[in-house]
């Protein structure tokens, strides 16, 4: 089960905004899926190591050799907003809530 409060909390973490009907629907759908998923809780997995990578690769380190960077205009070419040679964003400070 995932309730309304949890849905809202998770949406905040994921930077998603859900309309009221989406919150309700998401809560119901995610609960269904989680009910199904929770079947793995029935398995005895004591002492079973987790699999993070199905294939282990060694020596995948990169030598410290400079490679060409992108030209400045190419780096910024897809940016929605640009100023002073950089990517323009709303200031994070403006969001800070008064203490």
């Amino acid at each position: 089960m995932i309730d309304r409060e949890q849905v809202l909390h998770v949406a905040r973490l994921a930077r998603l905004e859900l309309a009221e009907d989406e919150v309700r629907r998401m809560s119901a759908e995610l609960s269904d899926v989680l009910d199904h998923i929770e079947k793995i809780g029935e398995l005895d997995l004591d002492g079973v190591p987790p699999t993070t990578h199905v294939v282990e690769v060694s020596g995948a380190l990169r030598p410290d050799v400079v490679e060409p960077s992108l030209p400045h205009d190419v780096a910024l070419a897809s940016a929605p907003a640009v100023a002073d040679g950089g990517f323009l964003v709303p200031s994070p400070q403006a969001d800070a809530e008064p203490a």
Binding site: D64, L70, A83, P92
Partner: protein, 407 residues
């Protein structure tokens, strides 16, 4: 004696002096124009993948050896997830529960761990050209984004601001000797956060800690920690409770302000980075790191003491390696007027430092051989101590040869 005892742990971020970034081949930036040292990987473009820099891992192992840490045969990168404009992927690649190095010590402070991660980009306030819908805006420069960082975390063994400063000084010297970083606090290649709590003196309980962020000089580190200790003491004396939060020290006003809003409640959702494989520390890598180790401050301190130098001077010369280097250059000065080690050490540590302060004496007007000659003149009683001090004043001001000044 205060009724409270501070308990302080340090988290130190060190930018590593590799040629390229942690996970891509872009050169590190030294004042390059914004966004000229970026590539699809460090801009976090769709479809790109990180590749760990072998040299950064080599430097990490050297730091671990210098701090007498246990080097992990296998360490793992995790993703630390949060949204911020200086974080192009929406997560920082960092090490979490399987770091490169565990344990160790820095002087009398125990080390908890050393791990590797990538630096964030730089966020600058936009000028008048950059406002969004009439609101304040910032500009992101990704040149710094992805610079390799070693994060060194101490145990909460520090008991005063002065001790924190002393520990950081030793660390800076050690890292400089290793050649793994520029360790310049003002330029941000060495950054220190402090976790601070207080408890009744004699108690072993731990109080609620606050995190004081990014103090960008040794002086501010000391002042910031003292200010925070005072703030916590005032709260507790007034019957209040310290709140766990992240704080910022403003050196101008000496005020402490809360850094993050409540919305930012930490939930970093760490999980193993699937785009990177575990770092397997091979025998070859260990041998290369061991082979690259220079003489460290502790070893230098011992060696200087064996020359007959007092413990206090030996420590000062070893921990401030530029003083040590100056001293050794002076001592090596060849000639009939070779000074003795102890008097020379005294002149470097007391008289010269009193005159040049925090500056590197190697960059001063007083050449090492000049000081060596002056100390030899004093030892030979060719000049009195008080006159010699006047000569040193002249040397600091104008340079020159002490013999000529004496005449």
């Amino acid at each position: 004696m205060s009724e409270f005892e501070p308990v302080i742990g340090l988290e130190i971020h060190v930018q590593l002096s590799t040629r390229t970034k942690m996970f891509c081949g872009c050169a590190l930036s030294f004042g390059a124009p914004p966004n000229t040292l970026t590539c699809p990987v460090c801009l976090g473009l769709p479809g790109t993948l990180p590749r760990a820099n072998a040299q950064a891992i080599h430097f990490g192992l050297m730091i671990g050896l210098a701090l007498e840490s246990e080097l992990a045969p296998r360490s793992i990168f995790h993703r630390k997830n949060y949204f911020y404009p200086d974080l192009p992927k929406g997560y920082q690649i960092s090490q979490y529960d399987e770091p490169l190095c565990r344990g160790g010590r820095l002087g009398d402070v125990r080390i908890h761990r050393v791990h590797l991660e990538e630096d964030a980009a730089k966020l600058v306030h936009a000028g008048s050209s950059g406002r969004i819908h009439g609101s304040d805006a910032s500009v992101v420069d990704f040149n710094r984004g992805g610079t390799p960082l070693a994060e060194i975390v101490t145990e909460p063994d520090v008991r005063s601001a002065a001790q924190a400063r002393e520990g950081l000084t030793l660390l800076r010297t050690t890292l400089r000797r290793l050649g793994v970083s520029d360790v310049n606090m003002e330029e941000g290649s060495l950054r220190c956060d402090a976790n601070i709590s207080i408890r009744p003196a004699g108690s072993s309980a731990l109080g609620t800690k606050t995190e004081l962020k990014n103090m960008n000089s040794f002086r501010f580190l000391e002042r910031g920690i003292n200010a925070e200790i005072a703030r916590q003491e005032a709260i507790v004396r007034a019957g209040g409770q310290v709140v766990q939060e992240t704080l910022h020290f403003d050196p101008q006003s000496e005020r402490i302000t809360s850094l993050r809003s409540k919305e930012e409640a930490h939930d970093y959702r760490y999980f193993p980075e699937p785009d990177l494989v575990p770092v397997a520390t091979s025998e070859e890598m260990l041998a290369a790191a061991r082979g690259a180790m220079p003489e460290l401050p502790a070893e230098r301190e011992e060696r200087l003491q064996s020359l007959g130098i007092s413990a206090a001077s030996a420590r000062q010369l070893a921990w401030r390696s530029e003083l040590g280097d100056y001293f050794e250059a002076a001592l090596a000065h060849d000639g009939h007027s070779r000074p003795q080690a102890q008097p020379l050490a005294n002149w470097v540590c007391n008289e010269l430092v009193a005159r040049v302060g925090e500056e590197d004496p190697n960059a001063s007007n007083v050449r090492p051989e000049a000081l060596a000659k002056l100390v030899a003149l004093v030892s030979a009683k060719a000049v009195t101590v008080s006159n010699a001090k006047l000569v040193l004043d002249r040397l600091v001001a104008d340079g020159g040869d002490p013999e000529q000044i004496v005449e």
